[in-house]
């Protein structure tokens, strides 16, 4: 089916790019790292925005804009028929993420519900979270364990999140995605601003900012901080996910590439800074000691968001309002990122000749079925987050390979420079892509060697340790299955998604 839908204006595509990029990671991962490593991390994170994220985003944006196909078709057009499997892998990877990201959106809804309940209790004199904590100090940890495993509400809410996403997307690009983002993104920025003002008004809140922005030059010699900054930039901006390629396939004919990409990248980073400036002052203000605050920040994404933050907010007057605003922002961020993930699959199905409604319904069913294990089991969720999170680096490398194969100068001239308000130097683009090839491999090696599994390859009996949550065996097996499927189906994928002959 020929893609005729377009965003109505430049702002439609810019808001969609911001919605894609600003997600749970801006609110739960970035503040943790900023609090742990401070200003040195922030400087390196900005550096990698310029070096890793923006070049990849420009490449993706221009590919989607030129070919107006789903990721599989567009990628194949640039990289060549024999590499159609690359577009398949990028799609499979982002789909793998979409399945569990719907669960994160469901969790966000659940905690939004809890914070509404808490706010109501606060206003009506009922039992608040603070009251429940005074009876049982582990109340929130126990609640989280209940919610994350075999919980009927979690399953219901992630399905509702998918259904809500499909309802938006069935309406199309202008009436669905564009209209939704016109509400979601400005609201999200306003909420973040409100949380910043509330947090900075807390006693000792400024200490959080001190930690966040303090530059310890010794940190620059710590490779971990370089890796964390690169990873955060790679994951947060959505570079290499195929999402901006999907969004830009609905761009107007003469849409600018460079400036739109820069707005998206810097906008995403602005949202992250705002989240950091809201959460860190709150954590430092409400923790008994600075040591406690640092320990909370090192506790991990889920623990920080779903146990520590509500617990800290419960200790302060007006904390019920703070909690409500925070979880509303978290839900908006997650939902706005879920939409383009669903659209990525819809877009590919439409290339097979399906109508928008038919493709959307099939996408919804697919995501409900394959998201269920992550909704049911936190171990399964964590495994998928691990496998496809690192898999995204491979997706990024595949985009780089496509551009290098096409020829960097030729690609820049034919894809990026046409219609762009700004021209970036060719040598910068070329050097960035070559450097990123190396950085991508370093990242994959680094994350796989982190040793989160006791038996990364073989278990204690010498068997391939594929069912371990964090093992390299599990990662490599799942990537391998996606790659093998892509290789075997390469010609079929080309026929269906490029030639569009079923």
């Amino acid at each position: 089916m020929h893609k005729t839908e377009e965003f109505s204006s430049r702002w439609g595509i810019v808001l969609a790019s911001l919605g894609m990029a600003i997600g749970a990671g801006n609110l739960w991962r970035f503040p943790r790292l900023a609090g742990q490593y401070g200003g040195s991390f922030l400087i390196l994170w900005i550096f990698f925005l310029l070096v890793w994220s923006l070049p990849l985003l420009m490449a993706e944006f221009s590919i989607g804009k030129k070919y107006k196909l789903g990721v599989i078709g567009s990628y194949s057009k640039v990289a060549g028929k024999r590499m159609t499997w690359g577009g398949f892998f990028i799609t499979a990877c982002t789909l793998g993420i979409a399945f569990y990201y719907a669960v994160v959106t469901g969790w966000a809804l659940q905690y939004l519900g809890l914070s509404v309940e808490n706010l109501w209790a606060f206003l009506s004199g009922g039992d608040t979270i603070a009251d429940k904590l005074s009876v049982n100090s582990a109340y929130l940890e126990l609640r989280w364990q209940e919610i994350a495993n075999k919980n009927l509400w979690t399953v219901t809410l992630y399905i509702l999140a998918i259904i809500a996403g499909i309802i938006v997307l069935i309406k199309g690009i202008q009436n669905g995605l564009e209209k939704a983002n016109k509400i979601l993104i400005p609201t999200l920025f306003i909420l973040l601003l409100v949380i910043i003002i509330m947090a900075l008004n807390m006693e000792n809140g400024y200490k959080g900012l001190d930690y966040m922005f303090f530059i310890d030059v010794q940190h620059f010699s710590n490779p971990t901080i370089w890796i964390e900054a690169l990873s955060q930039s790679a994951w947060s901006t959505g570079a290499g996910w195929g999402l901006i390629m999907t969004i830009s396939s609905y761009s107007r004919k003469r849409e600018d590439v460079v400036l739109n990409t820069f707005i998206g990248g810097f906008g995403n980073n602005t949202a992250s800074l705002m989240a950091g400036m809201a959460i860190l002052p709150a954590v430092f203000a409400l923790s008994a000691t600075e040591g406690d605050a640092i320990a909370f920040l090192q506790s991990g994404n889920q623990a920080l968001t779903f146990t520590i933050i509500p617990k800290l907010f419960a200790t302060v007057r007006g904390g019920a309002i703070f909690s409500f605003i925070f979880f509303l922002a978290f839900f908006l961020a997650a939902f706005s990122s879920l939409l383009p993930m669903l659209e990525l699959f819809i877009s590919n199905l439409r290339d097979m000749g399906l109508s928008r409604s038919s493709a959307a319904i099939r996408t919804g069913i697919f995501c409900v079925v394959f998201g269920f294990p992550s909704a049911y089991s936190l171990d399964f969720f964590n495994n998928q987050d691990w496998v496809w999170g690192i898999g995204l680096i491979i997706s990024g490398l595949l985009i780089i390979i496509a551009v290098l194969k096409y020829g960097v100068s030729r690609f820049k001239r034919n894809y990026i420079d046409t219609d762009s308000d700004y021209k970036i130097p060719t040598y910068f683009f070329a050097c960035a892509l070559i450097l990123n090839s190396f950085l991508g491999l370093v990242l994959i090696y680094w994350w796989m060697s982190q040793g989160y599994s006791e038996y990364p390859w073989f278990d204690e009996n010498g068997n391939w340790n594929v069912f371990d949550v964090y093992s390299n065996a599990s990662v490599v097996t799942q990537w391998g299955l996606a790659l093998i499927a892509g290789f075997l189906l390469n010609n079929y994928l080309y026929k269906v998604f490029v030639k569009r002959k079923l």
Partner: protein
């Protein structure tokens, strides 16, 4: 803090304002051509 916030937020605001200006220019040109 000023360096980091200035670079990121300043960059966002700058690129947004350039885009706004360019869109306004394009709209004016399109209106002149009667498109």
């Amino acid at each position: 803090m000023i360096l980091i916030v200035g670079t990121v937020v300043g960059g966002f605001v700058y690129f947004l304002s350039v885009a706004l200006r360019n869109e306004a220019k394009r709209k004016k040109e399109a209106e002149k051509k009667g498109v």
